[in-house]
């Protein structure tokens, strides 16, 4: 059924459709309306779930780890400082292989105090062992949360997942969303039934100490599950397309890349803006494409290599900065494409930090910059900050 809803309403709706059983959440802008909507749905009986009111995000995640051990399907949502406070428990959730699904409504970390979107918060958690997926729009937010449970709870995977929607740009903006009937979802997403569950009649210790002789093997198994998750996301995407018609059957969505001279890798809501800019460039005869990186963890190395085989000049737009060589996605893309280093040029662009608008005009400038690199075959700056106040692009 078609509905008009915000990204946060779509996220809450997805939790309801997934028949989530335990929710523990703490309010933080711009996530708050997800936890409020869920509280309302639990209170009025629309959802048959336990809602645990906690005193912090750290406690929210701790509560869900316990609930997940019982065998309950679990859900929370957070942003920015709240996600940072959860940091320790994120490692626990992933290491204990608890398939918790959590929308992260991305927001800058302070100072400077700022409630608007960028990806510094999620990039700060990229090495916790969580799967991380970026949404371009509200439809994708709803769909990816449903898919996330299917992948996360797969017995070969058992890893938690963050579904990232850009603060305000998606979270508080109304869009058309096609909402499947809950009976259709039941067909796509089966109840959570883990092999190991807490049994009160047979008490055990969970998360117990492992000595150096085996701890590394546990970590290796985590890594193996993340690798397998690539295939599982593709499979979940194919099944989703069959059931609901929308296509998420690749980890990287290619837009007009078939004959492109240059491609720009973008994640999150900015991908939509980049696509419009690409259309404008195409109208002027410039062969440009957009590669939307939907799945950041697991990282789609193979798909990017296939792109690099065809498109020899690749830009990466990052809404984050690592205080080293450019943004987080740029570093990883360049790393993935290293086997093609003699043929492929990768340029990084930093922009849209702290909610700064990133416009079609700016994306068109990035495409022009990439085309110039492709024409001349030389690149003078590896990374630039785009659209600073004086209108300039800079790399120190």
């Amino acid at each position: 059924m078609l509905d008009l809803m915000t990204g946060n309403a779509a996220a809450a709706k997805a939790a309801m459709l997934a028949r989530v059983e335990v929710i523990a959440a703490y309010p933080i802008t711009p996530q708050t309306s997800i936890s409020e909507k869920l509280a309302e749905m639990v209170a009025n009986g629309e959802m048959n779930a336990k809602y645990i009111k906690v005193e912090s995000e750290h406690s929210a995640m701790a509560a869900l780890i316990g609930a997940s051990y019982i065998g309950a399907r679990t859900f929370t949502a957070t942003s920015s400082q709240g996600l940072a406070l959860m940091h320790e428990m994120l490692f626990w959730a992933a290491g204990a292989r608890r398939p918790i699904v959590m929308p992260v409504v991305s927001r800058a970390l302070g100072p400077p105090w700022n409630i608007w979107t960028d990806h510094m918060d999620v990039m700060g958690e990229r090495d916790t062992g969580w799967m991380q997926l970026f949404c371009e729009n509200n439809q994708e937010t709803l769909d990816l949360i449903l898919m996330a449970y299917r992948v996360a709870e797969d017995k070969e995977i058992m890893l938690p997942a963050m579904i990232i929607e850009d603060g305000f740009i998606l979270s508080h903006t109304f869009e058309k969303v096609d909402v499947p009937a809950i009976e259709e979802i039941d067909f796509y997403l089966h109840p959570f039934n883990p092999d190991v569950k807490v049994n009160f009649r047979k008490p055990r210790r969970y998360g117990s100490l492992v000595m150096p002789d085996w701890a590394m093997e546990f970590r290796y198994n985590n890594a193996l599950a993340m690798e397998k998750a690539k295939k599982k996301w593709v499979e979940a995407g194919i099944a989703f397309k069959k059931a609901f018609g929308r296509d998420y059957s690749s980890l990287v969505e290619l837009y007009r890349c078939e004959d492109a001279d240059v491609a720009l890798i973008v994640s999150g809501s900015a991908a939509g803006t980049a696509k419009v800019a690409a259309d404008r460039m195409r109208e002027r005869g410039r062969k440009v494409g957009v590669a939307k990186l939907r799945t950041f963890r697991p990282f789609p190395t193979e798909e990017l290599l296939r792109l690099g085989e065809r498109v020899r000049t690749i830009g990466v737009f990052d809404r984050s900065y690592t205080f080293a060589q450019g943004g987080a996605i740029y570093g990883e893309v360049r790393n993935a494409l290293y086997p093609l280093a003699s043929d492929v040029k990768v340029k990084g662009y930093i922009g849209g930090l702290g909610g700064r608008d990133i416009t079609e005009a700016e994306f068109e400038k990035m495409f022009e910059d990439l085309l110039a690199i492709a024409r001349s075959g030389s690149m003078t700056k590896d990374v630039e900050w785009v659209a600073l106040k004086d209108g300039s692009w800079r790399w120190f």
Binding site: M158, V196, R204, Y206, S208, V210, E217, F218, N221, A225
Partner: protein
């Protein structure tokens, strides 16, 4: 178990922590003087490690030395000063 393939996905032990003697690193041992003890069970309420045993209402509290870490909170809270902390190496 020989390789990573033999491991469960996440760690758990088949028994609870009760089976592990964690009281061995104690420096001071709480000793309850039943002549002074009024069986108010304040020590039982305050023990952060559930190491004061109380089988039935009316019993004197007993310290579970297999798990007591010797923090001394019971001795500090006891209203009749019935609990004294004694150095382990002074007990033969």
């Amino acid at each position: 178990m020989e390789t990573y393939r033999d491991l469960p996905q996440s760690t758990y032990s088949l028994q609870t922590t009760e089976s592990v003697r964690t009281g061995t690193w104690r420096t001071f041992r709480p000793i309850i003087d039943t002549k002074k003890c009024t069986r108010c069970y304040t020590c039982w309420k305050f023990c952060p490690d559930v190491s004061i045993e109380l089988r039935e209402e009316g019993d004197y509290p007993k310290v579970d030395y297999d798990h007591c870490k010797g923090c001394g909170i019971c001795a500090n809270e006891c209203p009749t000063v019935a609990i004294t902390m004694v150095r382990e190496d002074s007990i033969c």
